[in-house]
Symmetry: C2
Subunit: 208 residues, 2 copies
DNA sequence: TTTTATTGATTGATCAGTCAATCAAAAATA
DNA sequence: TATTTTTGATTGACTGATCAATCAATAAAA
């Protein structure tokens, strides 16, 4: 029963946090969502904090497995960059409840060292996924800058989504990030002379 | 006394929230920081929520006045774009406690309609400040996209800062955003033929 | 029987919010 | 001027609600 309950509780936590838009949810809420008593949640996780840690760990695991799969399917460095972008805005990740959950964890990271560790891992991983392929296309220093910029843009689009004010869609978010990459690859390309009339444009989503 | 106390409490709230990195601070904490009793805080604000609302309102007011001043000093559209960027990363705004406070309010916006309203105002204002000047340089549809992208990048750099993992400094953040603008202005410029050898580069912070 | 799963009941702590009481300064009155 | 009254500022003490966490008891399975 243990693994079943643990999974059910973690899933329930993610759901409740997403719906509520905050980590200020009670163990009772989570337990109810999972269909068990609050006491059982404590029995298996020891504390609320531990359950929350497991929850973010699960979110991260999911993202990683999606990324690995997408990366495996892409052949060229440029295609891998697009794959990383696409995974970041994948429907699951972009669901309002998921965004709300990420945001809640970002806030929590200000206090919980362990939560912060996980988010740093996420940030590093995103950056280094981008960096690896950018280095195949650009000098190292330019690659580093662009990786940083692209990661920031992805996170920014993601966060802005949470306000639901001017809902930029999934496709538009991807296009915006691709535009950034295309434009900076063109600007910072090491040998622009060799392909003047055909700048890097391996994807759609161009400016107008 | 009333205006004095109100200001002291709002400032104290901002400080405590920033330090603690969350809105889950007690009225006692805030009152202690302001040097008054918790009861007085309730007396003047009626509820914790109201005090929090006033606090975010104050944050926004500060940002707006900085922006207005910076905008007034800039002459050309391109210079105004740089001014908006610079204000976003101004030292006050970029202090860890301020970032933590913004983040906390973003999370709160998932539940508090009023908090959400304020953040939407912020998001719209940033976007439209950028858009106004971009429209002087580009066709409307390209301007809109780039405004969206730049706003996202600013927010993203800001959020990433909150993790303090790979502390991108103020200058680097500005440079990254400027690079984005420069690259996309060059790409999407309406009449690139007329100034081929001298693309828009009215600021420093270029690639490499 | 022993072990595992599960819960109801309870505890202790924390907080937002209330209230009646004090204090001080200003205003009114003598 | 001396006095009383009024008003606003301020607080300590208290209340009610909420919750994480505990634990002893029960049910079910091995």
């Amino acid at each position: 029963m243990e693994p079943v309950r643990r999974k059910a509780l973690v899933d329930a936590a993610l759901r409740v946090i997403g719906d509520h838009g905050s980590l200020a949810v009670t163990m009772s809420d989570i337990a109810r969502q999972a269909g068990v008593s609050p006491a059982l949640a404590h029995h298996y996780f020891g504390s609320k904090e531990q359950l929350l840690i497991e929850t973010i760990r699960s979110l991260l695991r999911q993202l990683r497995s999606d990324t690995v799969a997408a990366l495996r399917a892409a052949r060229t460095p440029r295609a891998r960059l697009s794959a990383v972008i696409r995974v970041s805005f994948h429907a699951d990740q972009f669901a309002p409840e998921t965004i709300a959950a990420w945001l809640a964890f970002y806030a929590e990271a200000q206090r919980s060292e362990e939560t912060r560790r996980f988010l740093v891992i996420y940030a590093r991983r995103l950056r280094s996924n981008l960096l690896a392929d950018l280095k195949a296309l650009l000098p190292a220093d330019a690659a580093e800058r662009i990786a940083e910029g692209a990661a920031a843009m992805i996170d920014g689009l993601y966060i802005r989504q949470s306000l639901k004010s001017a809902p930029i869609g999934i496709e538009a978010s991807i296009a915006l990030t691709e535009d950034y990459l295309n434009a900076l690859l063109a600007t910072a390309s090491p040998s622009p002379r060799s392909e003047k009339g055909r700048p890097h444009r391996t994807t759609q989503g161009q400016m107008t």
